[in-house]
Amino acid sequence: MKTDARNFAATKEVLVPLLRQMLLVRRVEERLSADFHAGKLPGGVHLYIGQEAVAVGVCAHLRDSDTITSTHRGHGHFIAKGGSPRAMMAEIWGKRSGICRGMGGSMHVADVSKGILGANGIVAAGLAITCGAAYAVTLDRSDRVAVAFFGDGAANQGTLMETLNVATLWNLPMIFVCENNRFSEFSPTSTVTAGDIVDRARAFKIPCASVDGNDVLAVHGAAGAAIERARKGGGPSFIEAHTYRLHGHLEAEKSFLKSAYRESAEVEEWRGRDPIALFKTYLRGEGILDEREVDALEREIAAIVEDAAQFAEAGEPADPNLVFEVMFHEQRA
C-alpha cells in the first residue's frame, strides 16, 4: 500500500470508519449478488465490489448537505454517503419501503435527504446534474460541495468537457471523481479511451490527481484536499482513481455473453489487491486494529446486512398506482 498521496493525520477515529464503511458496502453487495443469483431480485444489478475504497475515501469528507451523483454502479456511493442499507435493499427488491418506494430500483437509488441525488442509468448523466448542484451552492454562498462519481467509460461522453468548462469558468465547488476500473462494459478502457483521462481535466488548469483507487488512504488524501479547497472557494478539482471491478459489468452477464472479455488471471491479480484486504493489513500492521477487533466489526456489519436483507425481503411490494401520483408534483399523470 502506497502512502505518499495520503497526507492526513491518521487517527483511529478516522481510520476505523473507513474500514467499516468499506465492509458495509462489500457485504451488502455480496448479499445482493447472492440474492440475484437466487433469482430473488426483479431487475439486474451492477456491483461495485473491488472499488469500495473510492466511494468511502471520498464520502468520508462529506456532510449530508453536500451532494453526490452516482452511476448505474451506485450502491457503494449510496451507502458510503450515509444511505440506509435497509432502504436501499428494499428498493432493489422493488418494495414499498424502498428508498424510492420501488419506483427506481438498483440503477436509481437516491436519498435526497442525504444529498444523494441518485444513481443513474444514463452513463455520465451525473456530471451535468452535479454541475447544476454546484452552481446552486455558489448561489447559496455556502461551503457545501458537489461530487460527481463517474466511470472511465463515462469520461468519453462530451459532457465531461462541457462540465469541466463550466465548473472552471464559474469556479464551482465541484469534485470530479473518475473511477477508472479498466472497463467500459465489456470493452477494456484502452480500446475506447485515448490518452490519460486526467489530462482532459488538466487542459483546464484545475488541480488534478491520479491516485491508486484501491488505496483508501490515497483516495481519502486526494479527496480531502480537493473538498477542502472547494469549500474555501478554490473551485473544482479532478481525481482519477485507478481501480478494478472484480465482478461482472452486471451480475447477469455470464448468462448472455458468448465469450470472455478478460483473463481470469487478471481478475485474480486484482483480487490480490483487494482494497479491503489491503486496508485491514495496513491497520493491523500499524497496530490500529487487531484481529479480534476486525472480527467484531465484521460481525456487526453482517448483522446489519442480514437485518437489511430480511427487511427488504419481508417488505410489501410497491404500490402499483403510486406511479400516477408521483410523476408530477400535485398533478395527476
Binding site: 448523466a125 451535468a128 446534474i129 446552486a136 463550466v166 469558468l169 408521483v326 408534483h329
Partner: protein, 323 residues
C-alpha cells in the same frame, strides 16, 4: 389594461416573478443581451448569478437545470430555438421527465424551459421545428403554448410558481405582436382551453402560433354562413380534454390546427381523444390541418406551401360543414 408586445408580456412575467421569488434563476446562451427580448433587463435588475450567460453546451445546460432544481432553485433555462432542445435532449427525456418518478417523489423539478418555435421566416430546417409532439410523448413534462400576450404572461406566472418541468414555447417571430394585457397580478391555470369565439357549426382548436390563423379564417367562414367556435388550446400538457369535448358535443365537428408535422402531432392526439370520447357527437370526420411530414424548406414559397394558413383552415372547416 395596456397594450403589450408578446415578448414584453413574457419579460414582465419573468421580472415580476423573479422579484417575488428569490429562488428563481435563469440561464442560457446570451440571455444577458437577450436576442428575443424576453430576458431583456433581467441582468441589470437581478444581477449576475441569478441571470447568467452560458457556454454553448446544451447537453450540460439541461442537466444543470436538473441539478440546480434538485438543490432548491426554480430554474428558467433559455434554449433559444426549439431545435436546440434536441442537442440537450438526454437530460430532458431521461432525467427531468423521469426523475420524480424514479426517486419515488423525492425530487421535484421546478424547471421552465423557454424556446422559440415554428417556421415562416426562411430560417430553414434547423431553426424552424415545432417540437411539442415529442415533448408531449415524454409523459413527464408540461407543455405550454401561449398564443397571446395576456396568456403568455398569465401562464408563465403559473408555471414559475409551479413545481413541474415545463416547456414554455414561444411563438417564433411573433414577439412584436401586441394586445391588451391586464395590469394586475394574475395567473392562468394550466389545462384550461380558452374559447375565443363561440360558435355552433364547427370547433376549430388551434395551437400556439396557429390561433392567429384560425381567427383570420373566421370572416371567410362567416361569409359562407358558417358559425365556427375557435378554441385556443393554451396548454398541451395538461390537456383540457373536457374543454374540447364540450365544444365538439355542441358543434359535432372538429378541425385541429397544428404547426407540428402531422405524424403523431398534437392534432393527431386531440383528434384521437375526441373520436374516442365524443364519438357519438361527431357529425363528420375530425380533421387535422398540420405541416406535412417534411423538414422546413428555406425558400419562402416552399415554406408557405407546407405551413397552415387561414385559407387551409377555412377550407377544412367549410368542407366539414359541407359548404
Amino acid at each position: 389594461m395596456a397594450k403589450k408586445r408578446y415578448i414584453q408580456a413574457i419579460n414582465d412575467a419573468l421580472t415580476e416573478e423573479m422579484a417575488r421569488d428569490p429562488k428563481i434563476i435563469l440561464f442560457g446562451e446570451d440571455v444577458e443581451i437577450s436576442m428575443f427580448g424576453d430576458t431583456l433587463g433581467l441582468l441589470e435588475r437581478f444581477g449576475p448569478g441569478r441571470i447568467r450567460n452560458t457556454p454553448i453546451c446544451e447537453a450540460t445546460l439541461t442537466g444543470m437545470a436538473v441539478g440546480a432544481a434538485a438543490s432548491g432553485y426554480r430554474v428558467v433555462l433559455h434554449m433559444m430555438f426549439s431545435n436546440f432542445i434536441y442537442t440537450g435532449f438526454d437530460a430532458i427525456a431521461n432525467q427531468m421527465a423521469k426523475l420524480r418518478l424514479m426517486t419515488g417523489g423525492q425530487m421535484s423539478m421546478p424547471i421552465t424551459i423557454l424556446a422559440g418555435y415554428g417556421g415562416g421566416r426562411s430560417s430553414a430546417a434547423q431553426h424552424s421545428d415545432t417540437p411539442h409532439p415529442l415533448l408531449m410523448n415524454l409523459g413527464g413534462v408540461n407543455v405550454v403554448v401561449p398564443a397571446s400576450p395576456a396568456d403568455a404572461k398569465g401562464l408563465l406566472k403559473t408555471v414559475l410558481r409551479g413545481k413541474n418541468p415545463t416547456f414554455f414555447l414561444e411563438a417564433g417571430g411573433r414577439g412584436a405582436e401586441t394586445a391588451e394585457v391586464p395590469d394586475e397580478d394574475y395567473t392562468i391555470p394550466l389545462g384550461k382551453v380558452s374559447v375565443l369565439r363561440p360558435g355552433r357549426d364547427v370547433t376549430v382548436v388551434a395551437i400556439g402560433t396557429m390561433v392567429k390563423h384560425a381567427l383570420a379564417a373566421i370572416p371567410e367562414l362567416e361569409a359562407k354562413g358558417i358559425d365556427p367556435e375557435v378554441i385556443d388550446i393554451r396548454t398541451l400538457v395538461p390537456l383540457d380534454e373536457d374543454g374540447i369535448i364540450a365544444s365538439v358535443q355542441k358543434t359535432g365537428r372538429l378541425v385541429v390546427v397544428d404547426e407540428a408535422r402531422d405524424r403523431c402531432s398534437a392534432a393527431s392526439h386531440i383528434c384521437a381523444v375526441v373520436a374516442d370520447k365524443a364519438f357519438s357527437a361527431l357529425k363528420a370526420p375530425p380533421k387535422r390541418v398540420t405541416v406535412p411530414n417534411v423538414a422546413m424548406p428555406y425558400a419562402p414559397a416552399s415554406e408557405k406551401n407546407v405551413l397552415p394558413n387561414p385559407a387551409k383552415i377555412a377550407a377544412a372547416a367549410a368542407a366539414l360543414v359541407g359548404r
